[in-house]
């Protein structure tokens, strides 16, 4: 049995230790926000936070997440309050098909947790997830907007 905490809830799963975290989340725990895109950590659609760090869960064996905290898009809104990144995503109408967006949002949240006021080059370096619909311009705008919100709420 492998123990892990997903969005604040403890689970123990009876699976092979090498099973990727993504598939434990999706097929065992029915957490469908993280998506499958490539299986080789290229696209980032499967991005979740492992102890606050963004990881590509398609390439993280579940054993590496044992006894640790996993945060997915489903756990981002707290007590009915959207995370400022989610709010910015809605305000700026970022998604198109939306399939990559839970990964994009988790990557953006991780960036802003470390860097309250990212520059464009900071965003370029941190946001390496693929969006096939091409929402990059709006992702950048929304990250700047979310940074502004975070700054004003912390001040």
């Amino acid at each position: 049995m492998i123990e892990l905490t997903v969005n604040g809830r403890k689970h123990s799963v009876d699976v092979e230790p090498e099973m990727p975290l993504l598939w434990v989340l999706r097929d065992v725990l029915d957490v469908k926000g993280p998506k499958f895109g490539c299986g080789i950590a290229q696209c980032g659609a499967c991005t979740v936070h492992l102890n606050g760090e963004p990881v590509r869960s398609c390439s993280v064996p579940v054993s590496a997440a044992a006894s640790q905290r996993v945060l997915t898009i489903e756990g981002l809104a707290q007590r009915g309050q959207l995370h400022p990144v989610q709010k910015a995503w809605i305000d700026h109408e970022v998604p198109q098909c939306g399939y990559c967006q839970s990964g994009q949002i988790m990557a953006a949240v991780a960036l802003l947790a470390k860097n309250r006021d990212p520059s464009d080059p900071d965003i370029d370096a941190a946001m390496t997830n693929i969006c096939r619909c091409g929402t990059y311009a709006r992702i950048r705008t929304a990250i700047h907007a979310a940074a502004k919100t975070l700054k004003s709420t912390k001040a």
Partner: protein, 721 residues
């Protein structure tokens, strides 16, 4: 049977709706069942498109698919415009494909393809809204005992006279539904539109941002099993033999099923199925095509350019041969565009259950009717016995429309597991190597110029596989596939002698509709060659086109608007150059100006990309902006890196490491010139791509003096900075 399912999933759905409403402000689409909202107690169907609840919630049905193009919002806007309802109370739900069969196609064509959702449905959608409005007014008038002509509707209320009595739509919906629909309704004058032309928030976005949007891959059913498949790597090849002894009894593995062209492993989760598949020993019969390569294909296409027979004429104005022979200057060139994969971020997949002669399918599809027909055919049941449950698509781009191979596979597997729901999902590798690719195309062009440099003769011959003849397998009219010659056969320029030819060269490589189809490649060819002519004539490429488009006001209008916004002719910093292009696509008129520099390492730094579009009427302007921005990423990805090559009969690329996608850091500054001139309805999902590649390549020519005649640019040592 669909009803049984409905009851089973109701609790989860309710909970989901409730949660979404709490956080997302009531804008909930998500993973609902077809017709679920309209089945709530008291809901009254006024017509196929409009259902009204006693609490004044307006349910507008949407028949096509949502894959990010935004039509799930903009199509219902057309109904709401005429209905005169309160948009804030509108809920949108998919029309059922099964009901469409049973109700003689009450919702018409359900396919979201060819940028045609708005342009092909605008009239019947607006009429549906207007008809429902007139019925609601008539019902209120009857209740008041006054003539309907004294009543009007606005914001979900019917009012009698100025400042008089009023009734909400919900109060009269029941009575309205019992009335005869009027035969002839008058549609609003565009100047009176309140909703069309306003930037309306897309209805599906809040669910996406909350991680609650449900795609085909997300379907979860009680007792469901999972399938991974391997297909013969050589297109068209077949299974010869299979040995699954190594995975028998392995944890979670339920069954290994051989089919004619693929092998499926069914397991209790997808990862186990996929892993086991690697240990199933399979021998394939490649058939006759095991030696086909990109080089042999190129030879075949080259033959299409050179042959004297078996060529169709797509357009013939004047006498090209004579005009070319006597031209003051002659220009000739060959252009090539490669095979491209769709690379939808959600790989192909299909969930199905076959039980008691009935089939339920959940799949990300651009054409629910085609999915339904394919499911029925594979299961051997009548159309009425199939339901295709609607979900959001993780990208479509044409891959999920005509082919439906994934539905046939999913239903075949479910049939082999009769009574058990099975979710089949492809790996990225299967998805990249078993696509219906954008056709490769080799084009020869010739033009003759008069002494002033104006073109008097234009010739193009396209040698390429026909999508129409090989995918839907329809006969070609006069031997011409319109997609293969798109933007050449409808050349709008004032050139007196034009001949456009098509040499159909079909191969074993499957081809299909890829976002913007023929207009994703031929405008690159046409507008680059036009630049060659301007250059040979020593003329400014904008002015050269302008003179030739004097009698094509819409093409000219967007060319001029885009050039103006881009500051064409204004001085640029040292080392920075511009390129321009213009083309019509899917009923919209587009133009592009690229502003860039190229450094000595071949890094192309696009400082600015100005994209113009005249879609006639702009239904949801912000969504058009989004489509144009997205089109630039899609096209830049294709033109810099996109190429599927063939070796030993199969696709060489397999995943994003060798089929490269553009990233955020490479996104140039894009400015959209939205110039709706009114009077027509053009598409917006695809046209944006058409003018980009030639504008960029023409700017590269201006910067380097090198004419790019084949894509992708990586093969010319160029990359996107």
């Amino acid at each position: 049977m669909a009803k049984t399912f409905a009851r089973k999933f109701e609790p989860a759905r309710r909970k989901f709706l409730k949660q979404s409403a709490a956080i997302g402000g009531g804008l909930s689409v998500g993973f609902t069942l077809p017709g679920a909202l309209a089945q709530k107690p008291g809901a009254v169907e006024i017509n196929a498109w409009v259902v009204i609840r006693p609490d004044d919630a307006i349910i507008i049905r949407y028949a096509r698919s949502e894959m990010g193009q935004g039509s799930m919002t903009s199509a219902p806007m057309l109904v709401a415009e005429e209905l005169e309802c309160d948009w804030r109370r509108v809920k949108i739900e998919y029309a059922s494909a099964n009901a469409n069969v049973k109700r003689k196609r009450a919702w018409g064509d359900m396919a979201a393809v060819g940028s045609r959702t708005i342009r092909n449905s605008q009239e019947y959608l607006r009429k549906a809204g207007a008809t429902a409005r007139e019925m609601l007014i008539a019902a209120a008038a009857q209740q008041w005992g006054v003539p309907a002509s004294e009543c009007s509707a606005s914001n979900s209320f019917i009012t009698h006279g100025a400042g008089g009595r009023r009734l909400s739509f919900g109060k009269v919906a029941d009575a309205a539904a019992k009335l005869e629909p009027p035969n002839d309704v008058k549609l609003k004058d565009p100047k009176d539109w309140k909703l069309i032309g306003k930037s309306v928030k897309r209805i599906d976005i809040p669910d996406t941002v909350l991680g609650r949007q449900r795609y085909g891959i997300d379907v979860q059913l009680p007792g469901m099993l999972y399938a991974a498949i391997a297909q013969c790597p050589v297109f068209g090849g077949k299974l010869k033999s299979m040995d699954a002894s190594k995975v028998e009894g392995r944890r979670g593995i339920v069954k290994v099923v051989p089919f004619e062209t693929f092998v499926a492993v069914v397991a209790d989760n997808w990862w186990r199925a996929k892993e086991a598949l690697r240990d199933v020993h399979v021998e394939w019969d490649a058939g006759a095509n095991g030696n086909v390569s990109s080089a042999s294909l190129m030879e075949f296409y080259q033959g299409g350019l050179d042959t004297q027979t078996d060529v169709a004429t797509a357009r013939k104005d004047g006498d090209f041969d004579q005009a070319f022979a006597s031209a003051a200057k002659k220009i000739e060139a060959e252009y090539y565009t490669p095979y491209l994969a769709h690379a939808c971020l959600e790989p192909m997949g299909c969930t199905a259950i076959v039980k008691d002669g009935k089939v339920d399918v959940w799949t990300s599809t651009q054409n629910a009717e085609a999915s339904l027909a394919n499911a029925a055919a594979v299961a051997g049941v009548p159309l009425e016995n199939v339901e295709v449950h609607r979900v959001q698509l993780g990208g479509g781009f044409g891959r999920r429309g005509g082919a439906q191979d994934f539905v046939r596979q999913g239903v075949a597997i479910a049939k082999a597991m009769e009574g058990t729901p099975v979710k089949m999902l492809w790996t990225r590798e299967e998805d990249t190597q078993h696509d219906f690719y954008r056709p490769a195309s080799l084009i020869r062009l010739k033009a003759g110029l008069d002494p002033q440099g104006g073109p008097v003769a234009w010739y193009s011959r396209v040698s390429a596989t026909s999508i129409i003849a090989t995918l839907p397998r329809l006969p070609l009219k006069d031997g011409v596939d319109p997609q293969a010659v798109a933007s050449l056969n409808d050349l709008p320029h004032a050139i007196p002698n034009v001949r456009i030819e098509y040499a159909q060269r079909n191969t074993h490589v499957p081809v299909g509709f890829w976002r913007t189809v023929g207009h994703s490649q031929n405008p690159f060819v046409r507008e680059s060659f036009m630049d060659e002519l301007a250059s040979a004539a020593g003329k400014d490429p904008f002015e050269y086109r302008r003179a030739l488009l004097a009698k094509s006001p819409k093409d000219l209008g967007i060319l001029e608007a885009t050039a103006k916004a881009a500051g064409w002719g204004q001085p640029l910093p040292a080392g920075v150059f511009r390129g321009i292009a213009q083309t019509e696509a899917y009923g919209s008129y587009t133009s592009a100006v690229a502003e860039l520099s190229v450094d000595k390492n071949g890094e192309v730094n696009i400082r600015r990309l100005v994209l113009g579009i005249d879609p006639g009427y702009a239904v949801n302007p912000d969504n058009i902006q989004a489509q144009m921005q997205g089109s630039s990423v899609f096209m830049l990805t294709a033109m810099f890196w996109g190429e599927i090559t063939i070796k030993e009969g199969r696709a060489e690329q397999s995943n994003f490491h060798d089929y490269r996608m553009m990233r955020l850091r490479e996104m140039p500054h894009v400015e959209v010139v939205l110039a709706p001139s009114g009077g027509f309805w053009g598409g917006v999902g695809e046209p944006g791509q058409a003018s980009i590649a030639p504008a960029v390549c023409n700017a590269i020519f201006a910067a380097t003096g090198k004419r790019v005649r084949s894509l992708p640019l990586k093969n010319h040592g160029l990359t996107l900075a």
